[in-house]
Symmetry: C2
DNA sequence: TGCGAGAATAAAAACGTTTATATTTTTTCT
DNA sequence: AGAAAAAATATAAACGTTTTTATTCTCGCA
């Protein structure tokens, strides 16, 4: 008997049945009252609420889930590129998750995170989530120019919000950054500063926003009647190592670039690291413009000019849109493209030496 | 009728009942066969498995959850300090999550992430997870010297693994880094390099590992017969801003430190930023030793000496331990303390000028 | 041949909800 | 007052499992 003592099972949590016994109403009435159904009389509703509060009733998520077929989960696909061993990577995702979770706060939805290692993995995860009903809605990023996940989810009418847009003309909810504009503005600023040999450190072309950035890059040159130096577009993963290697490679050219436009904070750090290794000074030998979504560029030495868009805000919007989408709102109404703000921390004209 | 066309409901997924109809066995037998119960005849088990494969049967998680009372969720508390606006922070958590999810891969468990903003928030989240049965197991970090979550979960016998140890002597599963040793070794290295005024950039003292680090810091001095400069222990959040501000503050002292030992990569970046702003050069005016769990210090300019322990490995261990703990394994068997490796990227003796 | 034991399978209940349908109570109107 | 309509509540079934208990079948053996 002493052996049974030590695990003193806690009293089973109150169920709808407990409330039925307490109040004398049937479980159906209890359920309807708690769902705020208009068919139950206000007076009884009050009685039931009081009882619920008294015993600290919490609807059992498993029971609800089984009956309604919903999971009350908002799934997020979180990419972790296994690029090199434990590379600094995807660091902005904590902020994204934070934003999403803020939006979900106070609702019945929980956030479940599915780690994906590449695009194929992501497509498979989406498939599984839909087929097995693992979640009621889905958020994902790293959108490809032709993204099978978007095709799938649109076809299945599964609620989702993508961070980024694909190149197909489909009706789906999304949040994005105006990458075309950001690349355009960065490039144009450097051109105005006198630069002509400008490198674009870019992700792989199958990523939709890689194309957006190339578009902006090209437009900036075309607008002043020049051809964009397509050979200075580096393509790779978004790692620090890639940024560093790109600098080391490009600066060996005869006609080496005098400026770098970077995709994100980790490549920027790599670029700065590469420049440091080669003994080149930012603002003197080379100019660098970064894109940053977690406000870290201010701490680089020297601080670099940055296009900044706090990604937590995007995350929050993603979450809000997903909630509305799960309520059945038209995806066409759920689209937002953010234009980052320019934070000029350098003059980006190599101290005027390039200007004529 | 045309209006009904467009949403062509997909066929409902096969259930255990479908298999019963297909094979002629009862649902009870199907269930037992799929659970590999020894009471069902091997021949019928095979038939049932074949049928299951044929229709692509997937057990409905909601049904299982309701019946068994389990949620098949492994919850992770992810801290996001809302320190300053959108600060670079908690970036290592992506790697932690990646590691945990790797361990969970191939099991029935999914990972749900709960964002917490401070310690009180974390305690509340743990409470909710236990009370509402939101998960079958829990992983969390940011352990306080006296952590209410550990007390709670031990008392409730709820399976969990903590990243870090509290200061109470309780039996619980944990994974940790040997912070005492890391701080000791870093400090000792600097002392050996001739430094005497060494600053420790540390988190708040209520965090258990802050105390561990102070212990190590003090031990290094005591070992050579010196008193540790307690006034050079900075206490704050783990943000980049904090690192930068600490440098700016400390270097105004008459008896300013000649070296900094940093908690993590983001404070290190801040320290380097502060030094850059004051025009001090690492390795010449000041030495810096970092702690790094996402391998980013190699890219700082200049690269700094680092204690490195890839946090993804910790994450994987956390996940493995949690699985075993949820199986009922004794928590005393589930403890591991990692000792980071020293990566010496500088001589850390200010070019020998400090040595006598 | 028939009995009992053991093996294999089936039936039924349960987990906690929601919801369609049925029943009771109250209100309204003539 | 009584019938019809409306409002309020109750009953019962269902969601997909697992598990306890019951039933049937097979086989060895007297």
């Amino acid at each position: 008997m002493a052996t049974e003592m030590h695990r003193a099972r806690r009293a089973p949590p109150p169920t709808i049945k407990t409330l039925a016994e307490m109040t004398g109403y049937s479980i159906a009435t209890i359920s309807k009252a708690l769902r705020e159904s208009p068919v139950v009389a206000p007076a009884t509703r009050d009685i039931i609420y009081k009882a619920a509060r008294e015993v600290g009733y919490q609807a059992n998520a498993r029971g609800m889930a089984l009956r309604t077929g919903k999971s009350f989960q908002a799934a997020v696909l979180m990419p972790v590129t296994a690029a090199r061993d434990y590379e600094w990577d995807g660091v902005e995702y904590t902020q994204t998750l934070s934003g999403i979770s803020q939006a979900l706060d106070g609702t019945d939805y929980r956030m479940s995170v599915h780690i994906i290692r590449d695009a194929a993995d992501g497509a498979e995860a989406a498939r599984r989530i839909v087929d097995q009903g693992l979640a009621d809605g889905l958020i994902f990023s790293g959108i490809l120019a032709e993204d099978p996940r978007i095709d799938l989810l649109v076809a299945e009418q599964f609620p989702f919000v993508s961070m980024g847009r694909c190149r197909k003309d489909l009706a789906y909810a999304h949040v994005d950054i105006d990458n075309e504009w950001a690349a355009y503005a960065a490039t144009a600023r450097l051109i105005a500063g006198g630069h002509r040999r400008i490198a674009l450190v870019n992700p792989q072309r199958r990523l939709s926003y890689a194309l957006d950035r190339i578009d902006g890059f090209v437009r900036a040159f075309r607008e002043v009647g020049l051809d964009a130096p397509m050979e200075l577009i580096a393509e790779g993963d978004l790692s620090t190592h890639f940024g560093r290697q790109t600098v080391i490679d490009f600066l060996q050219f005869d006609d080496a670039p005098t400026a770098f436009v970077c995709i994100n904070e980790s490549t920027t750090l790599g670029v700065l690291s590469g420049l440091g290794a080669l003994g080149r000074q930012v603002g003197v030998d080379v100019d660098v413009i970064a894109y940053d979504d977690i406000n870290v560029s201010a701490y680089f030495t020297p601080p670099v000019t940055t296009f900044y868009q706090p990604i937590e805000v995007l995350g929050r919007t993603l979450g809000q849109f997903l909630l509305r989408r799960m309520e059945g709102e038209d995806p066409k109404a759920l689209r937002q493209v953010f234009r980052p703000t320019l934070i000029a921390r350098q003059s980006d004209d190599l101290g005027g030496r390039l200007k004529r």
